[in-house]
Structure formats: C-alpha cells, structure tokens
C-alpha cells in the first residue's frame, strides 16, 4: 500500500473492515474488487452526509458538541430512520458501560487505601481492643 501523505482527503474506512462486513452480510457471494472499492468510498460519503446534517441540527440546538441524539435526528431526516432502533441499542450499551465505569471508579476512589493495609489496620485495632 502506498504510504499516506497525511492528506485528510485520503481518509477512508479501512478496506479490511469493509471486506469483513460484506462477508458477514453476503457470506457466499464473491464480490468484485471495484465493487468493494465503491463501498469503501460510499462509507466516506455516508459519514460526511450524516455528520454534516447532525452538525446543522447541533447548531440549531443550544449545544456545542454533536450528541448522539443529533446523529439520530440526522438519520431520520435523511431517510435512514430504519437504522434508528438498532442504533439506539448501541447507545444504550454505551450508557450502561459508562455507568459501570463510573461506579467502579468511584468505589476505588472511596477506598484510597489498598485492601491489605485496611486488613492490617483492622487487625491492629482488634489487637488493641483485646488488650484492654
């Protein structure tokens, strides 16, 4: 493969990822190389289409960052409403993972002290109590 000059215009989704998706979608079908190439380029166009529309929607809202809801609205307005229910499942997964991560890190913060040290301190306290 030719090395990238670093030009943003050459950015695409990697061919290997597209090939895998095509293979999963059409398992027993041979796909011509120029057809694969076209799919790669269509993906780039799709991403630009949706993100531009989401950006417009974001600009009209009082938010500065494009949210998943903006992307969902963009899909709806551009005729890709049939993707929304599956896309919402991914969003739900995101939120679940993020929630678990926040809970786990707040538990760690509350400890501060490693468990062995806590056990050691507890044993010292027990020892003091039994001496009294």
């Amino acid at each position: 493969m030719a090395s990238s000059s670093g030009n943003d215009d050459d950015l695409t989704i990697p061919r290997a990822a597209i090939n895998k998706m095509i293979k999963e979608t059409l398992p027993n079908v041979r796909v011509a190389n120029d057809a694969r190439e076209l799919v790669v380029n269509c993906c780039t166009e799709f991403i630009h289409l949706i993100s531009s529309e989401a950006n417009e929607i974001c600009n009209k809202s009082e938010k500065k960052t494009i949210s998943p809801e903006h992307v969902i609205q963009a899909l709806e307005s551009l005729g890709f409403g049939s993707y929304i229910s599956e896309v919402k499942e991914v969003l739900q997964e995101c939120k679940t993972v993020a929630l678990k991560r926040r809970k786990a890190s707040s538990r760690l913060e509350n400890l501060g002290i490693p468990e062995e040290e806590l056990l050691r301190q507890q044993q010292e306290l027990f020892a003091k109590v039994s001496e009294q």
Binding site: L11, N28, S52, N59, I66, S67, E86, K95
Partner: protein, 80 residues
Amino acid sequence: GPTRLARLPLARVKALVKADPDVSLASQEAIFVLARATELFVETIAKDAYVYAQQGKRKTLQRKDLDNAIEAIDEFAFLE
C-alpha cells in the same frame, strides 16, 4: 440480535468527522452511533445491490449492481 464480529474502527470514524472543517466536535457516544449507522449502511447497500446480481443470475457482486442500487433507492441519491 446476532453477534456482530466486524466493527468499524471508531478512531477512523472520528478522524473522518474531524476532517470536515465545518463540523463541530462530536461526543464519543455520537461517534459510536455514527459508526453503527455506517455498519448498517454497508449491510443495506450490499444486500440491495445483490438483488441486481441475482436478477442477472450472477453469483458475483459487481460494481454495476451497486450503481443500480444507488440509482434506484432514494436514500442513496447522495451517492450519485
């Protein structure tokens, strides 16, 4: 639903969004959602194109099948 093995690399999706100078920053969740939508797009266009290969009694999906799907389907008009 069925397990998806193939996924789009999120970093690349993010880079593609960032490459557009007119587009604001997108949240990580927005990138996730966009990546998933793009995967669905690939599945849909591949299946839609394959119908044309079947009509032509071919087992190989060719570029012209995609061109036909793009022309026939309203949502794909942006690709013309």
